[in-house]
């Protein structure tokens, strides 16, 4: 895999694909001179499942289940990105209440994803207790999701034209309790890590990614914002009603591992702000559109009304049929620009279904962040870009 001949005084080290600090199945080929990394080559594809190919065989509404499995730590964001792309292709707009609920869920999901990142990242660098705390908090978000959709992770809750169901009566008190609880917990993480000399020593000035390099390599999300580039689609190109919410875009200065850590920690607070605004101002109204060519009729109507039955039958056998064309819709995922490229040829199945995975491009910049660091820094850097291999390999 390493294309040129190695030098005689260096060592080639194979890290992964099952190394615990690679957060999945990622193989890294490292050329070492003593403890210094002089060359690095990521080798991906161990989790390739051909999801894009599978997607071309499914109807538009069935593809949502696949998107859940790509970025499995922030699956509602994946669903949202796909559903927005599909809605753009079909040409429908959803009610205000749906938009607000989607934003609320997306931000909860962002917190949940950042919690997994913080826990595993801290674990890599030896802070075991943070891992326990983070997963304790994440469990509360999973409980909310379970209450809402019946499933803890692969929710498939956001649907084309609306949602799978209205909010449950327990949802609002659960979310309110979580916001209050979580604010204090973020302070706790900061107390544990932000000024911890061991943590700062390991992460400051490590894995520096310059802004120009980050842009050129297509990095996005906290990885590019830590380098000082204000690229946040929620603010710059609002979708799903983000223009109604008040929040700050968090930027770093140096683009090192510490800045990426700080960005995500502060982003969690901003996400909680958005969740609070969304739950306070949640508009009343329908939770899906009333177009029988796009969303199925209610079950009790199907058993009484012939026309409803036909609509249901047509929708599930033929699928919804968008016009011929292509769209690209991106949202700000937990890791960066999460985009879906859909090509329609007028049938009920996408002719081309492609996902722009933020982790794929962030991981590509790993050698640029490494340049001459120690092998121990490599673990910190891989942790700091927060990759999900299901998304990288698809």
């Amino acid at each position: 895999m390493v294309t040129t001949e190695p030098r005689q005084d260096t060592m080639i080290l194979n890290m992964g694909p099952q190394h615990p600090s690679t957060h999945g199945v990622l193989r890294l080929l490292v050329e070492l001179e003593g403890e210094t990394v002089i060359r690095l080559q990521p080798d991906i594809g161990y989790l390739h499942t051909g999801i894009e190919k599978t997607g071309e065989r499914l109807k538009y509404q069935q593809v949502i289940t696949l998107t859940d499995r790509m970025g499995y730590l922030d699956n509602m964001l994946d669903e949202l990105a796909y559903v927005l792309a599909a809605e753009k292709l079909v040409g429908v707009d959803v009610p205000e209440r749906v938009k607000w609920i989607r934003v609320l869920l997306a931000e909860l999901e962002r917190v949940s994803s950042h919690l997994v990142w913080l826990g595993t990242h801290a674990l890599d660098l030896g802070a075991m207790s943070v891992f326990m705390y983070c997963f304790r908090e994440r469990e509360k978000i999973l409980d909310i999701k379970e209450n809402l959709s019946g499933v803890r992770m692969m929710t498939s809750f956001i649907r084309i034209g609306g949602l799978a169901n209205d909010l449950t009566p327990e949802f609002e008190p659960m979310v309110r309790e979580f916001i209050g609880y979580m604010r204090g917990r973020v302070d706790e993480y900061e107390e544990l890590l932000t000024e911890n000399p061991l943590w700062v020593e390991r992460t400051k000035h490590t894995g520096v990614l310059l802004a120009e390099v980050a842009i050129n390599m297509g990095c996005s999300g906290p990885t590019i914002r830590a380098s000082g580039v204000p690229y946040d689609m929620r603010k710059r190109a609002p979708y799903s009603g983000y223009e109604n919410f008040d929040f700050d875009v968090i930027l770093g200065e140096n683009g090192d591992v510490y800045d990426r850590f700080m960005c995500r920690i502060r982003e969690m607070r901003q996400s909680l702000r958005i969740v609070e605004q969304a739950i306070d101002g949640l508009p009343e109204g329908p939770w899906r559109i009333d177009d029988r060519k796009i969303v199925p009729p209610p079950k009790d109507e199907i058993v009484q009304d012939m026309e409803a039955l036909i609509h249901h039958f047509k929708l599930f056998t033929e699928g919804l049929k968008p016009p011929v064309g292509e769209v690209y819709q991106a949202i700000e995922g937990a890791r960066g620009e999460m985009g879906y490229y859909l090509v329609s040829n007028g049938t009920g199945k996408p002719y081309r279904f492609h996902m722009r995975a933020p982790s794929f491009y962030n991981l590509q910049a790993l050698p640029q962040m490494m340049h001459g660091g120690l092998i121990a820094d490599l673990v910190a850097i891989v942790g700091s870009i927060d990759i999900v291999l299901g998304e990288v390999d698809r």
Partner: protein
């Protein structure tokens, strides 16, 4: 600036290279001549502020000639606008690589090569990325045989010391 203005600027600068402009759902797609894609990409990057390559992928139109579309999604971080460029190619006809303009294209072009078998000329490291090296065929092609795939075998069945 808007994507429409970018499209107009491109048409003015490269009258022969821009073959078609399509507007759909507020998005602008331009069909570019294959041999001029690098010049067009450079112009987009340097003069039209499209410094960010969001995505690079391909579409296989099995029955059409030319068969493959290579699709570039460009983003201008300055104006937060997107532009879609397209290049058409046939089997065995390499597309000039845009890695010299956007570093992000490196892995994306490798992925297209891996899954579609479209080659990119002057790419620094064109080899398979997601599939193992000995894999036969390109699975994202519409005519890919999806059953009875012969998996790549290890080089020797015997254990070699």
């Amino acid at each position: 600036m808007t994507p429409e203005e970018s499209a107009a600027a491109l048409q003015e600068r490269f009258p022969e290279a821009v073959l078609d402009v399509v507007h759909f759902r507020g998005e602008v797609s331009l069909l570019i001549r294959r041999d001029q894609i690098v010049d067009v990409a450079k112009f987009c990057h340097d003069d039209l502020t499209y410094t960010f390559l969001s995505d690079l992928s391909a579409v296989d139109w099995l029955d059409q000639r030319p068969r493959f579309d290579i699709v570039y999604h460009l983003t201008s971080l300055e104006y937060m606008i997107r532009l879609r460029l397209k290049v058409q190619t046939v089997e065995g006809q390499p597309v000039p690589s845009v890695t010299s303009v956007w570093g992000a294209a490196n892995w994306a072009e490798r992925e297209v090569y891996d899954l579609y078998g479209v080659e990119f000329s002057s790419h620094p490291d064109l080899r398979r990325i997601l599939l193992p090296e000995g894999w036969v065929g390109h699975p994202m092609r519409k005519d890919f045989q999806q059953t009875q795939i012969a998996l790549p075998r290890p080089k020797s069945d015997k254990w070699v010391e």
